[in-house]
């Protein structure tokens, strides 16, 4: 078990596979979790967390709107504890080769994956006297066919991570996690033969699990990583090295 977490942790994209695992892991370490997602299934996520004894508040909100961001602030106030952790996990894909990519598919991916993170941090920073920010990037920041928009957004998220790490030190540490192929609903929707080829290219021979990403997030959010800031940790089974 890692160092205990204090205060509140805001987690976006909380209803997805990785988001839920992060909420569960941070709650298990003692954080009061503000779980944010636009999806209706957030209710089930919150119920799942509560049933395991987690201190959690669910916020169903569209963070691309001012109202959605305000809803997060209101819920954070309801926790009655100080903000100590922000996890920017919300993300979507709209894949196409650049030659065929529509302006709307470009914009919406940048807006959700990057704009939401930037604006949420800006909104919450006055309440984060000290603590950590963990941005969930992707191994796609190293390049991924058909993902000009996604790759750009996840690379830019690393730029945000680096700049904030320098600007906010020493009070706030800022790091990123770059998951590779993880066994989420999104990955399982990939045709089986394609998925098998992707797994074959992973030296560790399998997809990662959401809990393995969550464990890395918990490490970066805790005092166990007290001397780490401005870094990105890839959770990808060695895929960044193989053919």
């Amino acid at each position: 078990m890692r160092a205990r977490l204090e205060g509140a942790a805001v987690v976006t994209g909380a209803a997805g596979g990785i988001g839920l695992a992060i909420c569960r892991r941070l709650a298990a370490s003692g954080a009061t979790v503000v779980a944010v997602d636009v999806a209706d299934r957030l209710g089930a996520t919150v119920a799942d967390l509560e049933s395991s004894g987690a201190a959690v508040i669910g916020v169903q909100a569209d963070l691309t709107t001012a109202g959605g961001l305000d809803a997060v602030l209101g819920s954070l106030d309801r926790t009655g504890v100080a903000l100590r952790t922000i996890v920017n996990n919300a993300g979507i894909t709209r894949d196409a080769r650049l030659v065929n990519m529509t302006a709307e598919d470009f914009r919406v991916v940048l807006e959700v994956n990057l704009g939401v993170a930037q604006r949420l941090i800006e909104l919450l920073l006055p309440r984060l006297e000290h603590g950590t920010i963990v941005n969930i990037s992707s191994r796609a920041y190293l390049g991924n066919f058909g993902q000009f928009n996604y790759s750009m957004s996840k690379g830019a998220l690393l730029g945000l991570t680096r700049a904030l790490a320098l600007a906010l030190a020493p009070a706030v540490r800022v790091n990123a996690v770059a998951p590779g192929l993880i066994g989420t609903e999104m990955s399982m929707a990939i045709p089986e033969d394609v998925r098998a080829k992707m797994v074959a290219a992973i030296p560790l021979g399998r997809m990662g699990q959401p809990e393995e990403v969550a464990e890395t997030v918990a490490f970066l959010a805790s005092e166990d990583s007290a001397y780490i800031t401005g870094e990105v940790i890839t959770v990808g089974g060695g895929r960044s090295l193989s053919r």
């Binding site: 650049l98 704009g115 066919f145 928009n149 690379g155 830019a156 945000l160 700049a163």
Partner: protein
Amino acid sequence: MIRSEDRDLADVLNSLPLPDEALIFVANSAVSDGWTAVLDELTAAYQLSQAAVRSGGPIVYLVESDDLLGRRGIGSAMVACGLLSAARTLALETARAGSPVNVIALGTATTQDSLRVWVELLCRPDGPSGELIRLGADHLGKALP
């Protein structure tokens, strides 16, 4: 197509014998930290890159080394690192067509001669693709994004 807010840099780049369909995109290092400004800059890169790819032209993104390291604010850091990742993806997509896509990071001591040499080289169909060339010495000992 030379896209540069910096007139001196634009003059240097315009003097090069580049293919007509080439795109040299100079990131606006004065971009503010506001989201709208960042999105506008990245959207400009998307639009111009798409046009270049459709015409089969090489692409070079020019950024500042300091911005890749996040030293000058979040807006310019997001743009620089976003362009680097976009170039890596685009290099995969254009590999078969033989159209290179690369990034040059300018250091404080980068000379115009050095810039000319590298931009010309990176626009050649037999040159590298998906690469980051960091000029100057600002990046030495520092981490790649």
